[in-house]
């Protein structure tokens, strides 16, 4: 059965390693924070100037000066630090963030990503997404495998304006965990009860399937 948003987040959380500094994008990526494995100590970076995002504030305790990159009120953990946007992107551009998780409209088998603009329809801007994908050492995309109309989001070429080229390393969808290799997408795991055939059918880009594909353990 296809995973829901929380299932995708839970699987991505397994990629976290102790000591990681992690930037979580808006949407499904934000949910990853709810599933950080026991014993794994990670610090969350928010590109608007916070290292050490804490949980949402208690009722009535929201602070207008303390928000995340999605403009939601948050808290700061003990040991947090605040800084300006130039310093924040020095962290990102300088490769100091260990893992970036973000959403996407489309991903290609070369690791290209489209995530910020639907011409004539949505003109919100790229925010920090282009900086993140251009500089992160390790980028995981969290997305549904297909769009609402059932079209694959894992393509040969992006049809929408690009956010970055050849940067995504791994995709976790509601159906599968897929690595991006020199030879295209490579199926690593499938969602519980989802068949390899379904994944193949719903992946438009080149997809390598080698040997037995295990189910995710979530």
């Amino acid at each position: 059965m296809a995973l829901d948003k929380n299932g995708i987040a839970k699987r991505i959380a397994q990629e976290l390693q102790d000591g990681y500094y992690v930037n979580l994008g808006i949407g499904i990526p934000t949910l990853v924070a709810n599933y950080i494995p026991e014993g794994v100590d990670v610090i969350l970076q928010s590109e608007n100037g916070l290292l050490g995002i804490g949980p949402f504030p208690d009722k009535g305790k929201a602070d207008a000066d303390l928000i995340n990159a999605g403009k939601q009120t948050v808290t700061a953990i003990p040991g947090a630090a605040f800084f300006d946007s130039a310093t924040s992107f020095a962290m990102i551009r300088g490769g100091h963030v260990d893992l970036t998780v973000l959403g996407a409209f489309e991903i290609t088998d070369k690791g290209d990503i489209s995530s910020w603009k639907i011409p004539g329809k949505m003109v919100k801007g790229m925010g920090g997404a282009m900086d993140l994908v251009a500089s992160a050492k390790n980028i995981i995309v969290a997305t549904t495998h297909t769009d609402r109309a059932g079209n694959s989001k894992l393509l040969k070429e992006c049809t929408l304006p690009l956010t970055g080229v050849q940067c995504v390393k791994k995709v976790v969808t509601d159906l599968a965990v897929i690595d991006i290799t020199e030879n295209g997408f490579k199926l690593i795991e499938r969602a519980p009860g989802v068949s390899v055939e379904e994944i193949v059918a719903k992946t438009e880009g080149r997809l390598i399937v080698e040997g037995e594909i295990p189910e995710m353990n979530i």
Binding site: D58, G125, G128, A129, M130, A134
Partner: protein
């Protein structure tokens, strides 16, 4: 040396039509509220505004958009604003979208006398159109240019008569860099403190970057998305 002025109206004196302004803040967090209100009341028009975001329809820079005082925006994210989207799609408003880190660095560079620098963000995307590219460390980079403004308007938590500023939490964001990149920098602060009371180790923006300081009154500090524990 006393850089304190009485109010927002005095602070924005000299801002005239077709000038370039920088305005601090991320979303509605850390925006110079009184200054924006004074700009709305001044009827100044044809502005180029450098600001990470464009406010919401009825707050922040949205107020200047509604009165058509802005000719061009240089931003990274302009969602959450229907009037903005309408003016953009109708061609009334010119918009230059920058990757957020590139925008932040262009402003820092403007304040630091660095006219141009290379970054990887945006390579291979429409942001790269017309820009010089060069490979460094096996990766393609774009040459980006600095930004300066006739006036930079920032919001700080505390400030003194020398122009030294301290920000609170994530309300720093673009304010610190912008303070350095205005020919004239206006700081709207929540509290004016006597010179000598800010710990010199903890000053975020040294006063050399700031020309005018005033106390913002009745700050609303609106929250865009109140999110609390379930």
């Amino acid at each position: 040396m006393n850089k304190i002025v009485n109010n927002a109206k005095e602070a924005i004196a000299g801002i005239t039509n077709n000038m370039t302004l920088m305005l601090g803040g991320f979303g509605l967090c850390g925006i110079p509220e009184n200054s924006i209100t004074a700009l709305v009341e001044s009827d100044v028009t044809g502005l180029t505004c450098i600001s990470n975001n464009a406010g919401v329809d009825d707050f922040g820079l949205g107020l200047l958009l509604q009165k058509h005082q802005i000719k061009k925006m240089i931003s990274s994210y302009v969602g959450e604003n229907k009037e903005f989207e309408r003016q953009l799609l109708s061609g009334e408003l010119e918009v230059e979208l920058n990757p957020q880190g590139t925008l932040a660095e262009r402003i820092r560079a403007g304040g630091a006398g660095i006219p141009a620098f290379y970054v990887p963000a945006g390579y291979g995307t429409e942001v790269a159109e017309g820009k010089e590219t060069r490979e460094y460390n096996g990766k393609m980079h774009l040459l980006e240019h600095s930004l300066v403004a006739d006036f930079a308007i920032v919001k700080a938590w505390k400030g003194d008569a020398y122009g030294n500023l301290v920000y609170r939490e994530t309300a720093n964001n673009f304010n610190n860099m912008m303070a350095s990149a205005g020919k004239i920098t206006i700081a709207e602060v929540e509290e004016i403190v006597p010179v000598g009371t800010l710990n010199p180790n903890e000053v975020h923006t040294p006063g050399i970057f700031v020309q005018r300081v005033f106390k913002g009154e009745n700050l609303e500090k609106r929250i865009e998305f109140v999110t609390e524990k379930q």
